[in-house]
Symmetry: C2
Subunit: 217 residues, 2 copies
């Protein structure tokens, strides 16, 4: 009973969707406990009966908070925003909020799902890299064009928003899949600026409780 009030994040260090939520938790200074779900070990711990009961989609992240269990990273971030509004991750102006959500959804629906582990398994080992690179190039071409009209210091203007929480983990995926980022100067510039912020550093895949020693930094 002792820790019933502390949120629990089911997370995998290398999951880009988990990283989005970890950044939100860090920015909002929300203290939480991590329960690692290893997506590879034991043929995928997300497929265990216990975890499926928490998240029938068998994916991370999942957050237990305020007596409920929420899955889907953007739904989690919107909940945190509504219940812990400071610092805010959505601008006040509805038009700017629409831009933030458009960029977030472009990544969360238009890029990441097409290069995640379960899809890559389907396309077969020999095609994985080509497939992932193609998906990310298509998405980043669009994103670069969108950001040219929305970005200031960050994705939308000069305040960190939900869009930035999606961008950085997606760029990390791109790097993992050896995508050449030269054609995307705006994406690269914003990514670099964000990575200098503490919330993006403490939440980084190389610093999680379940990060293997050889990947720690």
């Amino acid at each position: 009973m002792t820790e019933s009030s502390k949120p629990i994040l089911y997370s995998y260090f290398q999951s880009s969707c988990s990283w989005r939520v970890r950044i939100a938790l860090a920015l909002k200074s929300i203290d939480y406990e991590t329960i690692p779900i290893n997506l590879i070990k034991d043929q995928g711990q997300q497929f265990s009966q216990e975890f499926q009961a928490l998240n029938p989609m068998k994916q991370v992240p999942t957050l237990k908070i305020d007596g409920i269990t929420i899955s889907q990273s953007l739904a989690i971030i919107e909940f945190l925003e509504e219940t812990r509004p400071t610092p805010c991750l959505l601008p006040q102006d509805p038009k700017k909020r629409a831009q933030v959500r458009m960029i977030s959804d472009t990544i969360a629906s238009g890029i990441q799902p097409l290069q995640n582990l379960s899809v890559l398994k389907q396309v077969g080992q020999e095609n994985q890299l080509t497939w992932a690179q193609k998906v990310i190039h298509t998405g980043f071409n669009a994103l670069e064009q969108i950001l040219r009209s929305t970005a200031g210091k960050y994705c939308v203007g000069d305040e960190v928003s939900m869009a930035d929480l999606c961008l950085v983990p997606q760029v990390a995926n791109a790097e993992r899949f050896k995508v050449d980022l030269t054609p995307y100067p705006t994406i690269s510039r914003i990514n670099k600026t964000l990575l200098a912020l503490e919330a993006f550093q403490v939440s980084h895949p190389c610093r999680q409780p379940d990060t293997p020693p050889e990947l720690r930094a």
Copy 2:
């Protein structure tokens, strides 16, 4: 200059993401003009220079409204909700809102992107049906389990929400891919109830300006 104040929806009759937005526009009684973007004709009208300038992701829907252009169906619906709140498509309670967004994102990030046209092209003609069915079964197994704890008359309680706007078009996709819906009684029941509502009928793929005569009803 005459119609500059009327929203313009770039839509394809059979696009499930376009249908989500059409339902929102109908529910909120927003008068709009449709510009059809045929995703198949002319090797895909979404690839034209003109359309790419509006939506670099080369996807429908895209909505021009209030002087801005928004892509990504859920970003559009959230904008409509914030600027035209009646009738509301998100509950007042943050926990219920989280459930609505979790269900919406499960469909919009977890199911639809994996069975959309551009992915099916990649997996090859002979594998398309099997691929789409597998993706939808995985998603619907999860959704059925989630809905068993959130649903009333509709996906979350007894009020129509954004989750319902995602559910009905996804069930139509399932039917198009000949998915057996017997294992999903909750999904099927909610879908049937929703299809009886006028907003779901006027926005239906069989009744759009670009619906081919042979598919009209």
